[in-house]
């Protein structure tokens, strides 16, 4: 153990000024997490982001590198989140004919799913006595993580807690979506996909794609539109409160 930390502090001295180590470790951890997830048949519970977070956390624990130091190094990766969110316009634009053809269906889905998603989580957490910080971090839980972190920060939540809650929500939606659809006897792939995208963003969309292409397309739309609308509405509502 001590030789390991000696070795890392030695290597550390050489790398400290350059973000190579942190960036490399993040890419490597995510790659390993993707492999593990694939070995498990891409089951939603083996979420690559969550696995990579655990791998990096264990690594930081073992090498006694403080999180702030890691984050400074991995900032290159963190920065790319902004451009990636901007690029979410591309899949939305590709589906514009679907949006137009099913505008009313999508509008109803958002009108119901967006407020129910926020209020159900916030309401349950409030009733069960969660702290206000946790409740605020929970509010954007159904929104795709790149947009959710911004909302969380704006309304006074914790970005980092929001990311974990968003992933947990995605995993839950991906697992429960098809089960609830069966229980409610709903087999229209448009309805199932759209709902899974609104309730559980990208992780739900990945699961909806396994149902079929239509479900996947509607899920992607649900995710994108719910993300943009929540980013517009939630901070405005909080400003009025």
């Amino acid at each position: 153990m001590s030789t390991l930390s000696q070795l890392t502090s030695m290597t550390w001295a050489n790398f400290a000024d350059k973000p190579v180590l942190e960036t490399g470790a993040t890419v490597f951890a995510f790659l390993a997490a993707t492999r593990i997830s694939r070995l498990g048949g891409n089951h939603p519970l083996l979420n690559p982001t969550l696995l990579a977070i655990i791998l990096i956390s264990l690594g930081l624990e073992a090498t006694h590198i403080p999180y702030e130091v890691y984050l400074r190094g991995a900032d290159v990766i963190h920065f790319m989140l902004g451009p990636a969110v901007v690029l979410l316009a591309v899949p939305l634009f590709r589906q514009r004919s679907v949006i137009r053809a099913s505008a009313r269906l999508i509008a109803v889905g958002l009108a119901v799913g967006l407020p129910v998603g926020i209020l159900s989580a916030v309401g349950i957490a409030w009733v069960l006595g969660a702290s206000s910080q946790t409740i605020l971090s929970l509010a954007p839980k159904s929104v795709t993580a790149g947009i959710a972190v911004g909302i969380s920060e704006q309304i006074g939540g914790l970005q980092t807690l929001t990311i974990v809650l968003v992933i947990m929500t995605g995993v839950t939606g991906a697992v429960l979506g098809p089960i609830i659809a069966r229980l409610a006897r709903i087999d229209d792939p448009r309805v199932v996909g759209l709902t899974m995208g609104i309730a559980s963003h990208g992780i739900g969309t990945a699961r909806a794609l396994q149902i079929n292409e239509v479900a996947g397309a509607f899920s992607g739309l649900g995710m994108g539109l719910n993300g943009v609308l929540t980013a517009i509405l939630l901070p405005l509502i909080f400003r009025l409160l």
Partner: protein, 128 residues
């Protein structure tokens, strides 16, 4: 390709200016997303390179959350102390959202979709 990277960064920059000056109450990437969509809608077509750039970057979108997500190690005690409300809110809330949305959309949404009516204008706004 460089042109498309410049395009994305340009909309992101405008979003950043709008956010910092208090002009718009949204985070820079959200404004950037809307501006890029608006630009594509005006052009009417997607440049090939932009499509490739989006596919490549969004393919590993999940990796981009890792650095910020690792920060949760500082809040493990919050997760532990509030495990019950958090898990109930996440699992219960998501189950309620899925059930209510699916049922309402399949009853009301499809009925409305079949019957052309007043909702058309309101629904159209979602696109813009």
């Amino acid at each position: 390709m460089l042109e498309q990277i410049a395009r994305v960064l340009c909309w992101l920059c405008i979003g950043e200016i709008a956010a910092r000056s208090g002009l718009l109450p949204f985070r820079a990437p959200v404004t950037g997303l809307m501006l890029l969509y608006a630009e594509l809608a005006v052009r009417g077509k997607l440049p090939d390179d932009l499509g490739i750039l989006a596919d490549r970057l969004l393919q590993f979108l999940g990796m981009l959350f890792v650095p910020a997500g690792v920060g949760v190690i500082a809040y493990l005690d919050v997760l532990k102390n509030e495990a019950m409300p958090i898990l109930t809110a996440v699992i219960g809330g998501t189950a309620i959202t899925l059930f209510v949305t699916m049922v309402v959309v399949s009853r009301l949404g499809i009925a409305i979709a079949k019957e052309p009516g007043q909702l058309e204008g309101a629904a159209g706004d979602v696109n813009s």
